[in-house]
């Protein structure tokens, strides 16, 4: 009973947060355009429904694009889940994704391999490189106590400039006008699952599979268990004999590993050369998704879908009406704020709790009365 009520409450709360965020967005849409309803339609159903002359129809390509957009952010969000679960506010996902993408690209260009193997090895090497990078704030934290949040923020910029240095001065394809590497060997490309420009690759399957694996890792293995316990109460973990330092390091290594995987798959799946010239932004989006998923890896794909859907909606709003697609930031920030708000709808929650306590009391009294009679 109690459980069911609380579950119901969580659902209502989540929905209310989302609705509120959309309402905030709607207010701005009304302010910004003369055709607010057209814009809202684009935002809310545009991503999957196209309105042709012959009426509305399911827009498959657009749906694929949404799924494709989820790939890197699922990985960065999983990384965030692991790190935040250990109470490590390492914000190095950005740098991790960029480094992972770059290193994977180098392997894809310069190390010939068999077709099936090449993307896998490239991604793995990229991921490990990224993991080692996000490990740095972890090491600084456990060795000298420097805040991982601050050092990871700084490190993102260092990673970006170092990657750009190598991109420009060592690996650039000088025959191109844009700064980019030479093309990946064809063996290294991650194959498309569907035709068209959606770039929905088999990376998507990998993302879903890894989300499940990380779910199992966090809730069904001794390492995930230690990560969670350290996150809840580090003193307790120490006292219980857990290897706190190593597990903290492990969590940040994994965070980078996952972010790097996301970056690498994105680079090898979407592009033909490495051409990022700034931090890719997946790290921050990953945090949003992890919050929406409440650090639960299995919920990450759903949250990622939601964000990708909204992103697409904003893009359509931009293409088909005059609202800048940056609108997404406002929606994202509002969802973020309301969804993570513990006290949001606390009044309702308190009423449920009180009602529950009363019910339980009444039950207990009834039981006591019954036993007295018996």
């Amino acid at each position: 009973m109690y459980k069911r009520r609380m579950l119901g409450f969580s659902l209502i709360r989540g929905l209310a947060a989302i609705l509120l965020a959309l309402a905030v967005a709607a207010v701005f849409i009304f302010l910004a355009t003369d055709e607010p309803f057209h814009a809202l339609q684009q935002l809310l159903i545009g991503p999957v429904v196209s309105f042709g002359e012959d009426g509305a129809s399911f827009n498959v390509q657009s749906f694929y694009q949404i799924l494709a957009a989820m790939i890197p952010t699922i990985f960065t969000a999983l990384g965030v889940c692991v790190m935040f679960s250990a109470n490590q506010f390492n914000l190095g996902g950005e740098g991790g994704a960029m480094a992972g993408g770059f290193v994977a690209a180098l392997v894809a260009i310069y190390l010939p391999m068999a077709a099936g193997l090449h993307p896998v090895v490239s991604v793995l090497i990229g991921a490990v490189a990224a993991g080692l990078i996000t490990l740095i704030p972890g090491v600084l934290k456990v060795s000298v106590g420097a805040s991982e949040m601050v050092s990871s923020l700084m490190l993102n910029y260092v990673v970006m400039y170092v990657v750009l240095h190598f991109l420009n001065y060592e690996f650039a394809d000088r025959s191109k006008g844009a700064t980019q590497t030479h093309a990946f060997l064809p063996t290294a490309k991650i194959a498309q699952m569907v035709r068209g420009g959606s770039r929905l690759t088999y990376g998507f399957i990998a993302a879903i599979a890894v989300a499940l694996l990380i779910g199992i890792f966090m809730y069904r293995t001794r390492w995930g268990y230690q990560i969670r316990m350290i996150g809840i109460n580090q003193n307790f973990a120490t006292y219980s004999g857990m290897k706190v330092t190593s597990v903290i390091l492990l969590s940040q290594f994994m965070g980078g590993l996952l972010a790097g995987t996301g970056g690498a798959i994105e680079v090898l799946g979407r592009y033909n050369t490495f051409l990022w010239k700034e931090l890719p932004g997946f790290g921050w989006t990953g945090i949003t998704i992890a919050i929406l998923a409440r650090n639960n890896p299995v919920a990450v794909p759903f949250a990622a879908f939601f964000i990708a859907y909204l992103n697409k909606g904003c893009l359509l709003m931009n293409t088909n009406s005059d609202i800048p697609s940056e609108m997404i930031s406002i929606i994202q920030a509002s969802i973020f704020l309301f969804f993570a708000a513990e006290q949001f709808l606390a009044g309702l929650r308190q009423r449920i709790v009180v009602k529950n306590a009363r019910d339980e009391l009444a039950q207990a009294q009834a039981a006591a009365a019954a036993s007295e009679e018996g």
Partner: protein, 322 residues
């Protein structure tokens, strides 16, 4: 190389350090106040972005730089209040509130600019000198040869930034608000039990923090760049966090660590004038310096404790032997 050293022994080098430090100092002081009250403000970057935008817009609308600066300040305060509402009232994790604010700062500003002006990306067509923060030549000082070139002729807000170091120190250590802020940050239960409203103090701290980063934002768009655009703050809000951490959260210490960063960036611009140096690696210098600074600071703090311990032990051992 010797040429390079020539450049850093010029008064312009010191002038540049001061100019580069100013916006960071604003944000770092903002971080100091928030941190002292026990709230982490990582939304400095976003606050600076948004108030930088409004500073420009308001000064354009009113054709007054001063009202623009005050407008940026007010916007900063409002954003601080918003952080407070979510973090304190609705109990959203404050780090997440900060991240949300940064998201708003990076994309939301583009949208807001469009909403208010129909422009996208930047405001350079609004810019004119009467709406820029003026510089100030300090009488007497400006005529002293080298010193004048270093310290005179900065933007008015630069002087404000350095004066604020003292003001913030004074606020924290000499006023009852400061006492409340420190008490709330250190033991909020104790503060609550004597009737201090912890929420109120933290609200105030966040709003002060917002006000200071708002000034930092105004400095960026109304003096440093003379117009607003999407990349204008460029991570300075994050660097300020590091500066605060390195400065042990104390106003004066934070000023010195901000100056360290300013020096690193001034060096960067000089080093990039040397032939054959990778501009990208050079660009990473300030961030590397900040990380190293943080590590060295933490190490020295650790060593200090250990040294103290060793001293005590020796003393007590000696006592025991006698």
């Amino acid at each position: 190389m010797s040429q390079f050293f020539d450049t850093i022994f010029k008064p312009e080098f010191v002038f540049a350090i001061i100019r580069i430090t100013s916006p960071i100092l604003f944000a770092a002081l903002a971080s100091v106040i928030a941190e002292k009250a026990g709230v982490v403000n990582i939304g400095l970057e976003g606050t600076m972005m948004i108030s930088a935008l409004f500073g420009t817009l308001i000064s354009f609308w009113t054709q007054s730089w001063l009202i623009g600066v005050l407008g940026a300040l007010v916007v900063g305060i409002l954003l601080g209040a918003m952080m407070g509402f979510f973090a304190l009232r609705l109990r959203t994790n404050i780090i997440l509130v900060g991240i949300a604010l940064n998201i708003l700062g990076s994309g939301g500003t583009v949208f807001l600019l469009y909403l208010f002006t129909g422009m996208r990306g930047n405001t350079s067509s609004l810019s004119s000198p009467n709406i820029l923060i003026p510089t100030w030549n300090i009488p007497l000082l400006k005529d002293i040869p080298v010193v004048g070139a270093m310290f005179s002729g900065h933007a008015v807000l630069t002087y404000v930034a350095f004066i604020l170091v003292f003001v913030v120190w004074f606020l924290l250590y000499k006023t009852s608000l400061g006492l409340n802020i420190r008490a709330v940050g250190e033991n909020s239960n104790a503060a609550r039990s004597v009737g201090i409203s912890v929420q109120r103090i933290q609200y105030i701290a966040l709003m002060l923090s917002g006000a200071l980063s708002g000034l930092g934002g105004a400095f960026m768009s109304m003096y440093y760049s003379q117009s607003w655009n999407t990349g204008i703050v460029a991570g300075r809000g994050f660097i300020a966090l590091a500066a605060q951490a390195m400065g042990r959260g104390e106003p004066v210490g934070t000023m010195f660590s901000s100056l360290l960063f300013g020096t690193a960036q001034a060096l960067e611009t000089r080093v990039s004038g040397i032939q054959g140096v990778s501009s990208y690696l050079v660009a990473s210098i300030p961030y590397v310096v900040t990380i190293l600074g943080l590590v060295l600071y933490m190490l020295s703090a650790k060593r200090k404790v250990r040294r103290l311990h060793q001293k005590l032990k020796n003393r007590q051992d000696a006592e025991q032997r006698t």
